[in-house]
Amino acid sequence: MNRKRSKGWNFVSFILLIYVVIVLFLLLSTVFASFKTKSQLAESIVGIPNNPTLNNYIQILFVDGFLKYMLNSVILTCISVAAVLMVSSMTAYGLARYRFKGRYFLQMFFLLGLMFPIQLGILPNFLLLNKLGLVNTFAGMVLLYSANISFPFFIFFKAFQKLPASLEEAARIDGANEFSIYFRVMLPIARPVFITVGLITFVNLWNDFYLPLVFLSKDNVKTMTLAIQKYLANFLKNWDLVFPAVVLGVLPLIIIFIFGADKIVEGLTAGSTKE
């Protein structure tokens, strides 16, 4: 396909350039502003700081406890991603590689979750977790995240369907039990899928706001998204502290994005092409 050099396409490139410049400008402004003091910010919210200072970072990390919130996010997200990967891949494996009655019904059943977002069932979930004493715990959150597996299930299901049955049979002949087959034969082959789903799930859970908002109200378990929102809500009082919080909140994901963007895209687009 020839590269189009007509004016029309160059114009589109130009518009996109502006769009991208806006994004970069926002990010850079935020980074610069995080190194300014309140009075410097009052002077001008944009622009390179004159005397860059780390005070804001020190303030939020050590005095306000932002470090704790970030650690909470890290711990919660990592555990939850592991749980989601385990549960969704096993479920998808069970439904993809065995034939039994009610198989199709279960497949459709799990895909229903794609249509109904978690917000609709939040009240009963809250009441249930409350009864179990799991509000304000990571365990409760992990349970909720592990239940919300329609999308990962869908990706794994498609992937497992494609694996050749010959491998399975060979392993069975060698006397391996079912779980061994799953763990030692099929998983390694599906590793790329795990990475992709893992990355997408990580981004989604790290950025999650609604569930932590409802279930993590005690200060010692709050996540980074809640902390940033708290600074935002008190914008006028603490607006110099919002900037470093945002920078720290966004940094891990930008790093993940730089290294994993293509895998993420691969995973997201897995469902939309007719194979």
Binding site: V23, L120, A147
Partner: protein, 302 residues
């Protein structure tokens, strides 16, 4: 026990199934059950049958809030479908046609995917805050003070700004879905139309679009669901009350206020909130069924 041993798949499926039923499916039904009661979450529950629904649809204060919120949701969905989706299609096509710098531009358009809605809300504040925001500051410096407004505080400006921001955040994902579908269009179809003398734009409409109907349907369905259940962004930008005059009030915010009670609107009303939730559920269900039938017809015809 012997029979279970012969069904290994059961062990693989059971954990997920139990979790899914307990925390995803059962809550939908329980929600409806709760809506038949009057309860503030702590005290006793009083069975009041469909009174919550009657209150929702007849009491003018709640009905007005309900129609305003649902109206906003519908407006939002339409904006996503009519304004944002065409932009995503055009961008995907542009990248498919490999415009200048497409490799980097693609990634950068997709970048906002990793921004949490809290981060996006922050950018909104950074730009639009009437006192310190970048936009008003820049306008002041350029002596264009007459253009300064309160942006999100202005009833007429808040919604368009919101749609623009939400569109900005969601642009990348939809675009990627379209692009990947475009990539799977067989080369000979594209070449055949070129030979027939089709220019870039007529190729777009007569060849590309029909071939990517699957992803268009995909994105359409997702946009509708996300649009009907939007919560994070308006909450972060304007708080649980939906902003000035409810200009950014949405069904999920309305639900949240009543479910957990905010200082402004009084104590929690679990039953009433569950009624709102159930109504929203029914709306989504109805639209989904309608969509499935309608879109399946299109899919078959294409």
């Amino acid at each position: 026990m012997k029979k279970i041993k012969k069904m290994p798949y059961l062990w693989f499926i059971l954990p997920g199934l139990i979790l899914y039923i307990v925390f995803m499916m059962a809550p939908m039904l329980t929600s409806f059950y709760l809506s038949l009661f009057s309860w503030n979450g702590i005290g006793s529950m009083k069975f009041i049958s469909f009174d919550n629904y009657i209150k929702l649809f007849t009491e003018s204060r709640s009905f007005d809030m309900f129609t305003n919120a649902l109206g906003n949701n519908i407006k939002y969905v339409l904006c996503m479908l009519i304004i944002i989706m065409p932009i995503q299609l055009l961008l995907a096509y542009a990248f498919h046609m490999k415009i200048k710098g497409y490799r980097t531009l693609q990634l950068l358009v997709f970048l906002p995917f990793v921004f949490s809605t809290v981060i996006v809300g922050f950018f909104v504040m950074e730009l639009f805050n009437p006192n310190f925001g970048i936009i008003n500051t820049v306008l002041k410096n350029l002596n264009l003070e007459q253009l300064i407004t309160s942006w999100l505080g202005d009833r007429n400006k808040a919604f368009p700004i919101f749609v623009a921001v939400a569109g900005w955040q969601g642009l990348g994902v939809g675009m990627m879905l379209f692009l990947s579908n475009m990539k799977s269009i067989p080369m000979d179809i594209m070449e055949a139309s070129e030979i027939d003398g089709a220019g870039a734009f007529s190729k777009f409409f007569s060849v590309v679009i029909p071939c990517i109907i699957p992803s268009i349907i995909n994105v359409l369905v997702l946009d509708v669901i996300w649009g009907l259940t939007v919560f994070d962004l308006p909450y972060v930008i304007v708080g649980p009350n939906g902003g000035v005059n409810g200009s950014l009030d949405f069904m999920n915010l309305f639900f949240y206020r009543n479910a957990f009670g905010t200082g402004y609107s009084g104590e929690a009303q679990v039953g009433f909130a569950s009624a709102i939730g159930t109504v929203l559920f029914v709306v989504i269900l109805a639209i989904s069924i309608f969509q499935t039938n309608f879109l399946n017809k299109i899919d078959l015809e294409s």
